[in-house]
């Protein structure tokens, strides 16, 4: 917080006020003069507080460090890239072997490699030149020590020319990431390890952006997209850099052409090898890719599910049809049996009725016989005939029920008068009903 101006005036120093260094400590802050409270972790000033608290800085220390950091920003970038230590072996290199030198390492850019921007290369070059300029070496007493300086110049020449840089990047093995071994895969994260490989391979792509390898949660489309991209990889990688030197003297044109042809063939071969290598890389990767297995299983599961469902449905339909048929058959059989039973029952009932009628008729006839044909003494054959004839007549006039009723009345009666009375009332009933004419069945109705 900057100084604020308060509208207060300070008193003058009293007479005779003396203190060492003009300062006198008198009191102490009030005991327990603080409350523990929680600061809201918000805002720029809290960030400053957090920074001080975490690094245990005082206000002035923090101010100084912050000021330094702010001031340093301009030159900050210069430092970081050159901070790589220089390999003493590299310093001994001969500039003639520039083909085998690692240009990035020479400029101290081995952390960046193909990612280094032109700006970075220029700056790195300048830094190295300032350090290794032959005149500086000469000043230090080592004249003609310009070998490494030439290396630097060559490296810059290659890296600042886009065509040459691509040629070098194509064969820059230091930037390659070896595919993970089985051992590594067993231990590490499969996706992370392979992602590193493809990230490094992606530098050769003519097409950008390159789809990322993703992780175990990637969707099917992402994974398919990734493999499609890589199986159709369009690479700018070329192998001119490894060409054998073509003699540039004009003496032997044949020799020159021969070399050129040889180089062209070598390039083609290497390119083919590289394509095969990438293909194998992809095959290896996809072979172990759990995601593909999972997607296949899921697809199979979906297909199987459909099939199983269909089969189940068919089975169910067949079962239902069978059950229905059985039920129908059963019903038909039952109906038949029932009809048969009914038929038999009715037959039996008819026979029983017939028997009852016969029995009743016997009772009727028996009753008149018990009543001795309503005469005293032996009944004459004519009387018996007449009585029985009347009995027959009445029997013929009444139906089975009335017959049964009549038999019921007569059954058990032995006294002739009573039997006679029954018969008489029956005849009267029949006459009243008009079934019998007055005077018919005289023997019974009299």
């Amino acid at each position: 917080m900057e100084a604020s101006v308060l509208p207060f005036t300070l008193p003058s120093l009293p007479e005779g006020w003396e203190a060492e260094n003009s300062f006198k400590a008198i009191g102490k802050t009030t005991q327990g003069g603080t409350t523990q409270r929680t600061l809201e972790p918000v805002g720029p000033y809290f960030l400053a507080h957090a920074r001080r608290a975490r690094h245990k800085r005082t206000f002035s220390e923090d101010d100084r460090i912050q000021a330094q950091e702010r001031a340093k920003k301009v030159e900050d970038n210069d430092d970081s890239e050159i901070s790589e230590p220089e390999d003493p072996m590299m310093l001994q290199r001969d500039a003639k072997d520039w083909k085998t030198q690692d240009h990035y390492k020479v400029l101290g850019l081995s952390r960046y490699r193909w990612k280094a921007t032109e700006e970075q290369i220029k700056r790195a070059h300048r830094k190295k030149v300032l350090k290794h300029h032959p005149d500086k070496k000469a000043a230090a007493g080592r004249a003609d020590d310009d070998n490494f300086f030439k290396c630097i110049q060559k490296a810059t020449e290659v890296l600042l020319d886009p065509v040459k840089r691509r040629q070098f990047d194509s064969v820059d093995e230091e930037a390659d990431v070896e595919p993970p071994t089985k051992k590594q895969l067993a231990k590490g994260n499969y996706y992370k390890l392979w992602a590193h490989v493809f990230k490094s391979e992606a530098r050769f792509s003519k097409v950008h952006p390159v789809p990322s390898f993703g992780d175990e949660n990637s969707t099917k489309e992402e994974v398919e997209n990734f493999y499609n991209f890589w199986y159709n990889f369009d690479s700018w990688r070329s192998f001119e850099y490894l060409d054998e030197d073509v003699p540039d003297d004009n003496e032997n044109r044949d020799q020159k052409r021969h070399m050129e042809r040889k180089n062209a063939n070598a390039r083609k071969k290497k390119k083919a090898e590289d394509n095969a290598r990438l293909r194998k890389l992809l095959d290896d990767c996809s072979a172990g890719d759990e995601r593909i297995k999972r997607f296949r299983q899921e697809a199979n599961a979906a297909k199987n599910k459909k099939r199983l469902e269909r089969e189940a449905a068919e089975k169910k339909a067949a079962e239902e049809a069978r059950l229905k048929k059985e039920a129908e058959e059963k019903a038909a059989k039952e109906a038949e049996e029932k009809a048969k039973a009914e038929r038999e029952a009715s037959k039996k009932a008819k026979e029983a009725a017939k028997n009852a009628v016969k029995k009743n008729k016997r009772v009727l006839r028996g009753s008149v016989k018990d009543a001795n044909y309503f005469v005293e003494g032996d009944a004459s054959a004519a009387t018996i005939d007449a009585v029985l004839g009347d009995v027959e007549l009445i029997q013929g006039k009444i139906d089975a029920d009335e017959l049964a009723a009549l038999a019921g009345k007569l059954n058990g009666l032995t006294v002739p008068d009573k039997i006679k009375g029954v018969w008489k009332s029956e005849v009267e009933r029949l006459v009243a009903a008009g079934k019998l004419k007055e005077g018919e069945a005289k023997t019974l109705g009299a």
Partner: protein, 579 residues
């Protein structure tokens, strides 16, 4: 980076950050343009996006579109769900969900049953409140991404001060499910203060701020000490009665009665769910109109029984019928100040935040409640005030931009209790100064409730020049109540300015100020000089010169005092060991 998919959050350099206010009624999203926070309008052009999701025929609607479905499709519309996050069913208040999807118990959490798929016979799904929050946040982030033209990866989200750790965890989980990294959850009132302090023209000073966050379903008042740009919450008060919906209710009742009076025999529109929803929507619109103009119309087609209704209301009438609510809000603010152990005279600034703060009457009431030199930051009282509805989102966006370059781990460590919990001094530390009458008064340099370690530098005048005495003392305030006969007291302390106007107006809401207080008396804040800590001399100051005094209080309460003439060399430096 190659291992992007494996890491939990995006790299700091690949983040696109926004600030989100995830409110119970409305939400906002904001981002930073040229160091200034701007609230983003969504596809519908809304900057306050209703926190509502609605499903119609399998289509998801959110914001204002979803809100309109409260009339026609209340069952499949989820509203007011923010406060249910991370809570058990038994501890939620479902009052506001009566006119939308009803919350249900679902295991440990709360859920809603919503028909969110297409088709008449599709089975309704049970969505947990986290799932609803995830879907809503996804829409918010989608709108922001569309506006910014790149995928938003991270956000700072504001939460109420009384959000529990469980609720915070639930919110972070819901955001993570929406593919959003939560950089930090910050308190809503603090976000509001930050929005004001983050303005380039704002000078950071020590002040006591009251943030009245008046929302749709709840009102939260927070008293905080802003000390050197660091904020410490001193007290909070929460209220679930006096909030925006209470004002809606007043208007609804008013117009429902008028409707029934105009159409004799018509049924009460408040008794029919659909009429009630229409009434509520229009009442809210009318309330908003009344915050801007002095007259507002209210018209609903086919309010009830197929009868249209149109009417107008003026602001005075509204303020009369809504008086109880306004008074309740006043009491709430007063109680929060009292809870912090402070007096209204101690308050330097009142920030009105939240949608309900647009109401002019509320700001006017607070104007009367606080002394005149207290700034009331509301649109109707301060022309430079920021739109209260946008404060929190802006604050969140500012905070997001501040911390977006830090690793998640760094943020965690910096917000750890070991860093945030610090001692705060209870007594002020200052120097003795002279007022015009030549009396000794206290000039506060480190005010009370300042977190230590703290450093303050001030310039004091020495008009007579020569040798001056810097006498460092402790100080404290008390409220001096003066009975009628006024004693001209000009000690230069601007905080002791007369508050006659405030007293007059206190008749309106005298229920706040101390009850024993009599009418004509004057209340002033007076600094009392405490024990002397140190003395230092600055010699040979030029006539009319200034003396710079710097006081650093360390965490162990030891004090370093330096004093020198402004522009001069050398100076005095001394250390006071702690007690």
């Amino acid at each position: 980076m190659a291992d992007n998919g494996v890491k939990s959050g995006p790299e700091p350099s690949e983040r696109t950050t926004i600030g989100i206010t995830f409110g119970n009624s409305n939400s906002s999203i904001a981002h930073l343009v040229d160091d200034k926070a701007e609230v983003i309008a969504n596809e519908d052009g809304d900057r306050q996006i209703p926190t509502i999701l609605s499903y119609v025929d399998g289509d998801e609607y959110y914001g204002q579109q979803a809100k309109n479905f409260l009339v026609r499709n209340p069952k499949n519309t989820v509203a007011y769900f923010r406060d249910f996050l991370g809570k058990e069913f038994k501890s939620i208040d479902p009052t506001h969900n009566h006119a939308s999807a009803h919350p249900q118990e679902s295991g440990e959490t709360v859920a809603f049953t919503i028909q969110d798929k297409e088709g008449e016979d599709a089975a309704p799904s049970t969505l947990s409140v986290s799932e609803v929050a995830t879907r809503y946040l996804r829409r918010l982030v989608g709108s922001a991404s569309e506006y910014l033209g790149k995928k938003v990866t991270s956000a700072v989200i504001t939460v109420p001060t009384n959000f529990t750790d469980k609720q915070k965890a639930a919110l972070i989980a819901a955001a993570a499910a929406a593919d959003l990294e939560v950089l930090q959850l910050i308190s809503e009132p603090v976000a509001a203060v930050l929005a004001y302090d983050g303005r380039a023209e704002t000078k950071i000073e020590d002040k006591i701020v009251v943030v009245a966050d008046l929302g749709g379903t709840r009102s939260d008042v927070t008293v905080l000490a802003s000390r050197g740009g660091m904020y410490t919450i001193l007290a909070t008060a929460h209220d679930y009665e006096f909030a925006g919906f209470a004002l809606d209710k007043v208007l609804m009742d008013h117009f429902a009665k008028e409707f029934m009076k105009k159409n004799s025999g018509a049924s009460d529109p408040r008794e029919n769910a659909r009429s009630l929803a229409k009434l509520r929507l229009e009442a809210e619109a009318t309330k908003r109109a009344l915050s801007l103009g002095t007259n507002a119309s209210f018209s609903v087609e086919s309010l009830a029984d197929g009868l249209d209704f149109a009417s107008t209301i003026n602001r005075l009438r509204y303020e009369t019928i809504a008086r109880t609510v306004f008074e309740g809000l006043n009491r709430l603010v007063g109680s929060a100040v009292k809870k912090a152990g402070l007096d209204v005279l101690d308050v330097d600034e009142v920030i009105l935040s939240g949608g309900t703060s647009h109401t002019p009457r509320i700001a006017a009431n607070l104007r009367y409640l606080f002394p005149q030199n207290t700034r009331i930051l509301a649109p109707s009282t301060e022309p430079t005030a920021i739109n209260p509805s946008e404060l929190q989102a802006r604050g969140a966006a500012l905070q997001a931009s501040l911390i977006q370059d830090y690793e998640a781990e760094d943020i965690d460590q910096s917000t750890h209790a070991a860093v945030t919990t610090v001692p705060h001094v209870t007594n002020a530390i200052g120097v003795i100064s002279l007022n015009e009458a030549g009396e000794e008064t206290f000039a506060p340099i480190v005010p009370p409730e300042t977190a230590v370690p703290a450093r303050r530098t001030v310039h004091l005048s020495a008009p007579n020049g020569g040798d001056v005495l810097v006498k460092v003392v402790e100080g404290n305030t008390h409220i001096k109540v003066t009975k009628p006969e006024p004693k001209a007291k000009e000690n230069g302390d601007s905080k002791a300015a007369k508050v006659e106007d405030a007293d007059d107006s206190d008749e309106d809401d005298s229920d706040f100020d101390d009850d024993e207080e009599e009418e004509e008396e004057k209340r002033e804040k007076v600094w009392k000089i405490g024990s002397t800590l140190a003395e230092a001399a600055v010699k040979d100051v030029k006539k009319g010169g200034k003396v710079e005094v710097s006081i650093t209080v360390n965490s162990d309460l030891s004090i370093i005092v330096t004093a020198r003439e402004v522009g001069g060399k050398g100076g005095v430096r001394g250390t006071l060991t702690s007690a």
